[in-house]
């Protein structure tokens, strides 16, 4: 593994402070390998159970996390994910921010469309994940990187 891969993710995204006023805790995990995706799924599931998300909402959030983590690794060349505990008054939620310093997404509208893929997959990752969460934001700049922020609130 080259030294460059071990350095912190360099993409400077405004999304890093997204929902920061509501944040009560943040856990940052690396996203480099298949095993990192499995570890993230486990962490997200634990958090989702802890704030008593319904089983369906837990499953939706964990699935979205899995899709987006795979995107970070496959298209972004790896990166990291910030797992946030959120509180808005009495409302509790989970935020996930995926950041990579890969090639970026040249056409966001296309990338969000179902069935559009550049990686030989099904093209469901971004658009599909968006349907599984309550809030979804992307910041991507060609040549600099991509950040995707999603939030799921406890109903």
């Amino acid at each position: 593994m080259s030294a460059a891969l071990n350095t912190a993710v360099a993409f400077d995204t405004a999304l890093i402070e997204h929902n920061s006023r509501l944040r009560t805790a943040r856990l940052t995990l690396p996203l480099r390998s298949d095993e990192d995706v499995v570890a993230l799924r486990r962490h997200v599931r634990e958090r989702a159970v802890a704030i008593a998300l319904s089983l369906v909402d837990q499953t939706k959030l964990v699935t979205a996390a899995s899709e987006l983590a795979r995107n970070t690794i496959k298209y972004g060349g790896g990166g990291e994910v910030h797992l946030d505990a959120l509180e808005d008054g009495f409302k509790r939620g989970i935020g996930l921010l995926f950041v990579d310093s890969g090639p970026g997404i040249p056409d966001l509208d296309m990338a969000l469309r179902d069935g559009y893929t550049t990686g030989g997959g099904l093209g469901l990752g971004l658009g599909g994940s968006k349907r599984l969460v309550d809030e979804f934001e992307i910041d991507s700049r060609p040549g600099e990187g991509t950040a995707v922020s999603v939030v799921k609130w406890k109903r």
């Binding site: 369906v56 499953t59 699935t63 899709e67 469901l124 349907r131 599984l132």
Partner: protein
């Protein structure tokens, strides 16, 4: 290397997925299953996913592809035991497992395969 065991019952192959599958493991299972269909002369494949609390697009694609590969190798595939929350998520994600037969549990899956094979 980590592997998911494949059991043989007569001319059926039975796979019970009980681990949180990473992508390589899913691909290994797909390869192993197609090889076993041929070496064991299997006519049916039953994949039990009742222990899986997540099926994302990668695992979904692996299941679809495995069923398609089995079909061209003259074997039928039935996926059994999908949890309701997984089904809801899968459809909302946009994945319908087109062409994959499903049954609620192993018993019904076996009955479905039996009807089609024997």
């Amino acid at each position: 290397m980590e592997r998911i065991p494949i059991l043989r019952m007569g001319n059926l192959l039975l796979v019970t997925i009980q681990v949180d599958m990473h992508d390589r493991l899913a691909m290994t299972l797909q390869d192993d299953l197609t090889e076993r269909i041929v070496s064991d002369n299997a006519k049916g494949v039953l994949i039990d996913i009742s222990a899986l609390d997540l099926v994302d697009s990668f695992i979904g694609r692996m299941i679809s592809n495995t069923a398609a590969m089995a079909r061209v190798l003259d074997a039928q595939t039935v996926v059994v035991g999908m949890q309701p929350a997984v089904a809801i998520t899968l459809v909302e994600l946009g994945l319908t497992l087109h062409g994959v037969k499903t049954a609620l549990n192993v018993e019904k899956g076996m009955a479905l395969l039996g009807k089609n094979i024997f």
